[in-house]
């Protein structure tokens, strides 16, 4: 037997014991002195404490952002703004390893993923949008599109740095300033990003970072911003939409999903199995566009499932900082509880549960990769977003039935199609009601490619030429 020795990442970033709010270019404590702890989900150890922004801090930040937008960032030429964004992108690349380790520590995701995906893709978003800053007149959104002003942004904990990049890069490129609230459990890389903005000499007030929980987010939504951009759960997205209805504030939402990954009988099976694994187990399944419903043609279901289980057995679950870890820790005790509750419901409703026999660490928040077979459309695990490493497997008989089942959800963020027949890909993509349809691949992202949902998965696009529209007055 060929066992891999532990291969821990040796770089350790400088993590401070305490972080403040980043307002108007400076770190400062909360007006009411509140703070909270951030925990390493793989060990449950406290990593640092951080100030928690209240309504007064939100007001100050929005005012600072307004001054910066009106006096400096808005009037600045696109070419100059582009220089700052290029500088940020290069600094992110230079500090890539530190950011990767910090993200892994704070979030629980494996270093392999932060190193090869999160951080490089975040840098790519800044490079890409730096290039747009002086070419906005050619984006097909009018001859002289104007910025919206001050943007309030609220991002989730599943891709803390990458979601920050998706939000901040286009907003800044278009001439807006931002007040961003990172998720309560994962503020670290946003705060390191604030330090990076200082290093890049970004004018004060252009980027403001306000750590906090739901209350901070609500205060930001209620504040005097011109637009809210939110990524997170459908329930919170709906509440935001309600609360700003009737105001002048604009809104884009990137919400939940329950994506169907459709495997036809003529798919390249081994590669489809890889796509299924990548679709649901990438980032512990903490992905809004995760392929959480596998729809496999009944005639090949047994073969696909046998191969899938063999493959899942080889996944390495454990220390996120080990370079060979495939699946890291669940981000929080709360999320772990939710995953466990939904999987219990799956078993209770009669689906058959399967998990590989792998050891889990004693401390921290962990969940084995899980495959449910015999899942029916009516079960909760087929309808509700689990946001964890849990796959629900359903079967279909004909292509029409596959599409009908795939679309039979209030969500519409993403979908996958696996077939070696090109015409079937086009046929399916035309009928799937999802913002993104991947063909013979899954979970691929690029700054140049717009991403966003239909139906209850939200509205607005991020990335690409289309993504600029969310930050311009067109």
């Amino acid at each position: 037997m060929f066992e891999y020795a532990p291969a821990p990442e040796s770089v350790r970033p400088q993590i401070k014991e305490h972080y403040g709010l980043f307002v108007d270019g400076k770190f400062t404590d909360a007006a009411d002195g509140a703070d909270f702890k951030s925990v390493n989900p793989s060990t449950e150890e406290v990593l640092f404490t951080v100030a928690e922004a209240g309504a007064a801090d939100v007001q100050n930040s929005v005012a600072a952002a307004r001054r910066a937008q009106e006096a400096v960032w808005g009037p600045m030429s696109g070419a100059e703004r582009g220089k700052y964004l290029f500088r940020i992108a290069r600094l992110l690349q230079e500090k890539a390893r530190e950011f990767a380790v910090a993200e892994s520590l704070d979030n629980g995701k494996p270093i392999k993923e932060t190193r090869d995906f999160d951080v490089p893709t975040a840098a790519q978003h800044f490079f890409y949008h730096a290039g747009w800053a002086d070419k906005l007149a050619y984006a097909g959104l009018g001859s002289d599109p104007r910025p919206l002003g001050v943007i309030g942004q609220v991002i989730p904990w599943n891709f803390p740095l990458l979601m920050l990049a998706w939000k901040i890069a286009p907003a800044l490129a278009c001439g807006n300033t931002v007040v961003l609230k990172p998720a309560e459990t994962t503020p670290l890389t946003a705060l390191m990003f604030a330090e990076l903005c200082q290093e890049a000499d970004l004018p004060p007030g252009v980027v403001n970072i306000l750590p906090g929980a739901g209350g901070t987010g609500a205060a930001l939504v209620d504040s005097a911003v011109d637009k809210i951009a939110f990524t997170g759960s459908t329930a919170v997205g709906r509440a935001i939409a309600k609360s700003i209805a009737g105001s002048k504030k604009r809104l884009t939402l990137e919400l939940g999903g329950k994506a169907a990954n459709i495997v036809f009988d003529d798919a390249a099976v081994d590669q489809a199995v890889e796509g299924i694994v990548n679709g649901i187990f990438f980032n512990q399944g903490h992905v809004c566009c995760a392929g959480s419903r596998l729809l496999v043609q009944e005639s090949v279901a047994d073969e696909v499932l046998a191969r899938l289980k063999d493959r899942v057995t080889t996944l390495r679950v454990g220390d996120p900082l080990d370079k060979n870890t495939d699946i890291g820790a669940i981000n929080s005790a709360e999320q772990l509880e939710r995953i466990a509750a939904l999987t219990d419901a799956g078993s209770g409703e009669g689906a058959e549960v399967w998990q590989p026999d792998c050891d889990l660490p004693d401390r921290g928040f962990w969940f084995r990769p899980t495959v449910f077979t015999g899942v029916q459309q009516s079960m909760r695990i087929a309808k509700e977003e689990i946001f964890g490493p849990v796959l629900s497997v359903l079967t279909f008989r004909t292509p029409d039935e596959a599409i009908a089942k795939a679309n039979n959800t209030p969500y519409g963020l993403s979908a996958g199609v696996w077939t070696e027949k090109g015409s079937k890909i086009l046929w399916a993509a035309e009928r799937l009601r999802a913002g993104v349809v991947w063909a013979n691949t899954f979970n691929q992202f690029d700054a140049a490619s717009p991403f966003g949902g239909l139906k209850e998965s939200g509205y607005g696009r991020e990335g690409g030429r289309q993504g600029l529209e969310a930050y311009l007055d067109v």
């Binding site: 060929f2 891999y4 590669q271």
Partner: protein, 304 residues
Amino acid sequence: MGSILSGAEAASLVRALPGVDAVGLEARAAGLATRSVKAESKAKAIDLAISMIDLTTLEGADTPGKVRSLAAKALRPDGDAPSTAAVCVYPSMVPVAAEALKGSTVKVASVATGFPAGQVPLDVRLADTEAAVRAGADEIDMVISRGAFLAGDLERVFHEIKAVKAASGEARLKVILETGELVTYDDVRRASWLAMYAGADFIKTSTGKVGVNATLPVTLLMMQAVRDYRALTGVQVGVKPAGGIRNTKDAIKYLVCVNEVLGDPWLSNEWFRFGASSLLNDLLMQRQKLKTGHYSGPDYVTVD
């Protein structure tokens, strides 16, 4: 073991195989290549890799002296390092190798069947094979008729492999697909299955004589084929990437693939081989580095 299928049956089964998605296959190989193998697991992997080498010389300039030198290296590569799996030579050099390796665990492998192109009449290829076995070869590395395969004559390729298998007698038969000439992954998969249906004991990527030799994605695909063949028939077939694997880092990537795609049953030189010559010295240098903590240099391993 002879095949129970007719040529027409084998050809039709092979033609019905599902396709290979090139992007997905290459992504999977690249993913496996990121595994970090350190410390004691690296030491074990290096010794395992050494024990899996078919130490090879296939030159027009091969002489008995050259082959004896290679055989000595195969037997005792360096200090307490394990012996290699085999020495691989042309048929004319088999008697020399057999004499030098007599009584050892190191096998004599001979290329045959008009290596490397195979563009000679079948009876000549069979005679080539029989001569190598008579001279003491334990293993035969044959080449398939890529021309016939690419012309679509799968039945002919099937019958030729079957005939060479029969001519090999007790010797284990490695079937070289020459994947660099088949080019597409779909054809590599078809050729792998055709060879296995015809009775191959091993499927091997390359001769080392064309532009593109073993690659990780191609070898991964062949591993999936032997895995699936065993699941279907119960018969285990070995895999041998050959050509282009020159350093320890690359060799370990292949072992990681064996480990995660095939697992324990294939993790020995009975079922996995490296066709290589310069790889051995790099493995030995890395082995010295792990033992002493510093790099020595090429003068501290032998030139053979």
